[in-house]
């Protein structure tokens, strides 16, 4: 096979795998930010928590991979409910600054908590035997785990799409994003909806953090280090949509991989420049509602 084509295929492959992780972590942030207008810098904390729970269950207690992922996701969703009730709720509609500060406080705390319980180094993550090694897709081989990531990411994206477009819950969320007052006056319990959406978004982040532990290593600084990327996905994609962040995550994942592979000396510089251009061109993001 031609060398250039082969390089393009691997960039595309690894880029899309990275994009799936970015999307899973960030899509919840897009929904909650669009719904509640809340600048939540601490969203990565939920992803990190998911990753920590999952790897701990797997390595320390020998729980199977699939069960660990499910338990970690549920645990984070359960954790998100009281956080939303007691810390986030009082700040709905408050100054952006207060929201930024409170969530930054949470990020700082998560860094110390991660170090306290799990030590300063990254958590080891070994995919189960069935998902490790290489897989032959007919024309060439790919790392099995990343193929699995892309596949499960694609399934989740489709489910999310259908969920938001076809279910009652999805319709309620869309209504509340578009016009909260109107949604309230037709009898939607937005307060309950917010809690649900927040827990759901956090659970998705936990899922992304857990499944993506192979790409974005789980360490104490997780929520801080990757914050910029999560925010870029949301801001470039547009708030309150699930399609926007998907396109943005693909764009970011593939271009990040491509630049790091082709022009490592420029590093992430281009990504940031591109983000700036897009945000200036469309301040509400590519798919944001005016």
């Amino acid at each position: 096979m031609d060398a250039a084509l082969s390089a393009a295929i691997s960039i595309g492959f690894h880029g899309v795998a990275f994009a799936m992780v970015l999307y899973l972590v960030s899509v919840g942030l897009s929904i909650t930010m669009g719904l509640m207008g809340f600048v939540n810098l601490a969203h990565g904390v939920f992803a990190a928590a998911g990753g920590y729970f999952m790897t701990t269950l797997m390595t320390r207690y020998g729980v199977p991979f699939a069960v660990s992922v499910a338990l970690a996701t549920l645990a984070v969703a359960a954790l998100a409910v009281p956080l939303e009730r007691f810390l986030y709720r009082p700040l709905y509609g408050a100054d952006e600054l207060d929201q930024v500060l409170m969530t930054m406080g949470l990020v700082f705390m998560s860094v110390a908590i991660g170090k306290y319980f799990w030590g300063p180094t990254a958590m080891p993550f070994y995919p189960p035997a069935a998902l490790s090694g290489q897989i032959d897709l007919g024309f060439r081989t790919f790392p099995t785990y990343r193929t699995f990531l892309i596949g499960s990411g694609a399934i989740l994206v489709t489910l999310l799409w259908l969920g938001l477009e076809r279910t009652r819950f999805g319709a309620m969320i869309r209504a509340a994003v578009d016009n909260r007052r109107m949604a309230q006056s037709v009898g939607i319990n937005t307060s309950q909806l917010f809690t649900f959406a927040f827990a759901f978004g956090s659970a998705l982040a936990a899922l992304g953090g857990g499944l993506g532990a192979e790409i974005l290593a789980i360490d104490p600084g997780y929520a801080l280090e990757h914050l910029v990327y999560f925010l870029i996905v949301v801001a470039v994609g547009g708030l309150g949509t699930i399609r926007g962040p998907f396109v943005a995550a693909l764009l970011l994942g593939v271009s990040d991989t491509a630049f790091k592979y082709l022009l490592p000396e420029l590093g992430a510089f281009f990504i940031y420049a591109l983000t700036m251009v897009i945000l200036l061109w469309k301040p509400r993001g590519l798919f944001g509602q005016a």
Partner: protein, 329 residues
């Protein structure tokens, strides 16, 4: 409104910008600290430089109401400018300081022209992106910045050709105090000027300020540039007094930390930084020697509590207490 109360109101406004005796307190304390804590002058100089950084951030955040997550961009540009000059034969600290202010001001002006057109989440994102972009650039341009190893070989000459930087920090302390004083004088003049008042107006109600004909965008760019220059001066101070510049001067962490410091003291009140910055840095110096890992936990918890219970910071709380005393004679 009666004529008497109107006159009273006018008198109150006229008195607002007059120097009060209390305002000498920080300077008296700073001079006293020099004699009382001769072993901590190096830390003292760092606190004074960071205070200037805090003042500059408060101008943008507290007065103009621009929520920025990338103020370290200007601090870092200042630090690298001063550091680069000192490493390449231009060792005069004053020239380094001025060059740093010009460079940081230029970055502030240009980025301000671009990003201050947006609002809300976009502006937050854009300030953040400018900062990480500059950090990434500094990281990759190793021939100029030294990359991840930091800038090597700074040689800073004596201040004004007379006062050599010593290892105890005597010169550093007075130099930083002098620059801070000038920065404070500028900041104080700005916030009490009609220009400064119009910034508060923009923070409180952009639509109304637009309606009464204030050139909002222009005002924001102006204050953003001034604030960037002051932040650049602070960065230059740190670079010259520690003779060290590393990538962390451009980090998002630092942008967040400076916000934390001024929030602790009280935002938009000029003296918030004077309380918050020393408090934070002294506490960090004490606690991080005992327990560096968990410092972040306590500071995070403090932030959450400040937002939940004490939005005005320490000065805000002090105000509330004073008001209660005055009301109950």
């Amino acid at each position: 409104m009666t004529a008497k109360s109107a006159a009273h109101t006018i008198a109150t406004f006229a008195r607002r910008h007059r120097l009060r005796p209390m305002e000498a307190l920080p300077w008296v304390l700073a001079v006293a600290a020099y004699f009382v804590f001769p072993d901590y002058l190096a830390l003292g100089a760092q606190i004074l430089a960071t205070l200037l950084f805090g003042l500059s951030a408060d101008l943008v955040l507290g007065y103009a109401g621009i929520v920025t997550l990338g103020h370290a961009a200007f601090y870092g540009v200042g630090a690298y400018t001063a550091g680069y000059l000192a490493a390449h034969g231009v060792g005069s600290p004053i020239i380094g300081l001025i060059a740093a202010m010009v460079a940081a001001g230029a970055v502030g002006f240009i980025s301000g022209l671009i990003i201050l057109r947006t609002q809300g989440l976009s502006i937050l994102m854009l300030t953040l992106v400018v900062c990480v972009m500059l950090q990434e650039a500094a990281n990759k341009m190793t021939s100029i910045t030294g990359g991840a190893d930091g800038l090597q070989g700074m040689e800073v000459q004596p201040v004004l050709g007379m006062f050599r930087f010593d290892m105890y920090g005597h010169t550093a302390y007075w130099y930083a105090l002098g620059v801070l004083f000038l920065g404070w004088a500028v900041t104080r003049t700005i916030v009490h000027s009609s220009f400064g008042r119009s910034l508060t107006g923009i923070r409180e109600n952009v639509a109304r300020m637009n309606a009464i004909g204030t050139p909002v965008f222009f005002r924001l760019v102006t204050i953003y540039t001034i604030s960037a220059m002051l932040a650049g001066a602070a960065g230059a101070l740190i670079a010259e007094t520690t003779q060290l510049v590393a990538l962390n001067v451009l980090s998002v962490d630092l942008s967040g930390t400076i916000l934390v410091m001024i929030i602790l003291g009280g935002v938009g009140r000029l003296y918030g930084a004077f309380i918050g910055v020393p408090l934070y840095m002294i506490a960090q110096d004490r606690f991080s020697t005992i327990d560096p890992t968990y410092w972040y936990f306590w500071i995070g918890l403090l932030l959450v509590l400040v937002v939940a219970f004490a939005r005005g910071g320490i000065l805000g709380m002090a105000d509330a207490v004073l008001r209660r005393f005055k009301r109950s004679p």
